[in-house]
């Protein structure tokens, strides 16, 4: 039986909640929110501060269990309330966040993170261990994380940067952009969108980049050792450096870079496949980034 040690309820008459609960290392923050927003920022305290604002009749309930702090909003008879949470939590605290019509933002976590929403964005900076970010109708972004990473959305883009560890990323209608990745295993695919990867190609690693409608662009680091398989039904292949084919079939060809110990699969049904030096790709990205900022400043 789970012992409930502490329960705090704020009635609907008060439209805001601001409370702080002491937590112990090893505990998990478990928060579900039907609509609104969840913003979690790591801090150095061994405590969780929950600030919540909600417009509908309802209440926010915090339940402290031996292994988790549960946060949940309910209403008395009406529809689930829309709640905007601003939460400070210890960086060591594992996060299990879920919502339906909810945006989720995480900043500075150094622990496992699970964040799932249906209609909303998921943005996470930080995270260690198992990291799972999912949305249906919203972009998913992850930066500066380390561990086993699984990210997906359905109708938007996925962006990863500064991530190390095994990576799986998927979308259906959206682009996948992976920058500064350090991983031995990467598997990313979209159905209608482009794929861009710039990161390590580790010896013995396996990398798969696939789309149905869209281009695949791979930045190959210097001194990479990989056997590269390229497949396209209705597109072209372009490499900015010379390659020597080792095998060719109707829709696929292979070639080797260095000793060829890593395996790379590049696939697009309707699109082009572009091979670039990693430095080249980073340069293009920095240039685009710079132009984008200048354009924003002009406005």
């Amino acid at each position: 039986m789970v012992a409930t040690l502490f329960t705090l309820t704020t009635l609907a008459l008060v439209q805001q909640t601001d409370t702080q609960v002491a937590v112990r290392p090893g505990m998990r923050l478990d928060l579900s929110n039907f609509a609104g927003a969840i913003a979690v920022k790591a801090w150095a305290e061994n405590a969780v501060r929950v600030r919540a604002e909600y417009s509908s009749e309802g209440y926010v309930e915090l339940t402290l269990e031996p292994s988790a702090l549960l946060v949940k909003a309910s209403s008395r008879g009406g529809p689930p309330p829309s709640v905007d949470y601003r939460i400070n939590a210890p960086a060591w605290m594992a996060l299990d966040l879920s919502g339906v019509n909810t945006d989720i933002t995480i900043d500075g976590a150094q622990a496992p993170v699970t964040a799932e929403t249906v209609n909303g964005e998921v943005k996470c900076r930080g995270g260690a261990g198992n990291i799972s970010l999912r949305s249906v109708q919203g972009a998913v972004g992850l930066a500066d994380a380390k561990g086993h990473v699984e990210v997906s959305t359905v109708n938007d883009d996925v962006t990863l940067s500064g991530v190390s560890g095994d990576v799986t990323a998927q979308t259906v209608s959206g682009d996948l952009e992976l920058r500064a990745i350090d991983s031995p295993n990467v598997d990313v695919s979209t159905v209608s969108g482009s794929v861009t990867y710039e990161g390590t190609i580790q010896d013995g690693g396996h990398y798969r980049f696939a789309t149905h409608n869209g281009d695949v662009t791979l930045g190959v680091p210097d001194k990479a050792n990989a056997t590269v398989s390229v497949a396209t039904f209705n597109g072209d292949f372009d490499s900015s450096f010379p390659i020597s084919l080792t095998g060719t079939t109707k829709h696929r060809f292979t070639f080797t870079i260095g000793s060829g110990t890593a395996r790379i699969e590049l696939e697009t049904f309707n699109g082009d496949i572009k091979l670039r030096r990693a430095t080249e790709l980073r340069g293009e990205h920095d240039h685009e980034h710079h132009e984008h900022h200048e354009h924003e400043e002009d406005h």
């Binding site: 799932e116 249906v118 249906v136 359905v154 998927q170 159905v191 149905h212 497949a231 109707k250």
Partner: protein
């Protein structure tokens, strides 16, 4: 919902529909931009496939397969191995996933069991079985559609989310049609075989996501 006519466009283009079916689909095409787009893509894919040189695969496996078929069995077989194609296995996995969705739907929404199922294709246009799993697959998708409709009616699943799921199912269906068409023109292509299998996996994954969205919307 996923347009039931999409799967018939290939037959339409190949002149394999009856006069009645063709007339009905002509009328549908006049109103449906999605189907017109898929049909255009099909036409382009076929034109592209027909323009490709007809080369044998680098490693022709058929002689060895034929040799094995022709060779008499060394001894009576005590058991028979049943082999399935990748699409058949995927179809089975989709059916399992959707049966799970059905169970979930019945579990979490007992009050809505009486909800009408999603509109099916006209009776005269029942989809032909292209491979073993298609009929079950279509039935399972109808179940999922019912679950989506129920979620929308209950107000727990945003109508825009339902539209997004349906749109993306159509995106994947289009990709499947294109991959199947390409594979029909080049059945020996390992890439196309795997690509079709992968794309069907994407459909299964999306259906799972939709099921989970319904579940999370009800909790």
């Amino acid at each position: 919902m996923t347009d039931p006519w999409i799967e018939r466009l290939s037959e339409y283009r190949d002149g394999e529909l009856t006069d009645t079916e063709r007339s009905a689909l002509d009328a549908h095409l006049a109103q449906c931009e999605t189907c017109r787009g898929v049909l255009d893509e099909l036409t382009r894919v076929v034109a592209r496939a027909q323009s490709l040189p007809d080369r044998p695969p680098a490693q022709d496996l058929w002689p060895r397969i034929a040799q094995r078929i022709a060779a008499p069995a060394a001894r009576p077989q005590r058991w028979r191995r049943i082999a399935f194609s990748v699409p058949q296995l995927l179809a089975a996995s989709i059916v399992v996933a959707l049966l799970a969705a059905r169970v979930l739907w019945l579990t979490v929404a007992p009050a809505e069991r009486g909800a009408p199922a999603a509109a099916a294709a006209p009776a005269t246009l029942t989809a032909r079985v292209a491979w073993a799993g298609d009929a079950q697959h279509d039935a399972a998708i109808a179940e999922l559609q019912a679950a989506l409709d129920a979620g929308q009616r209950a107000g727990r699943l945003d109508s825009s989310t339902v539209r997004i799921v349906e749109h993306n199912l159509a995106v994947i269906d289009t990709a499947i049609v294109q991959a199947r068409r390409a594979l029909a023109a080049d059945p020996g292509s390992t890439y196309l075989n795997h690509h079709l299998a992968d794309t069907m996996c994407r459909k299964r994954d999306l259906l799972r996501v939709a099921t989970m969205a319904i579940a999370s919307a009800r909790t």
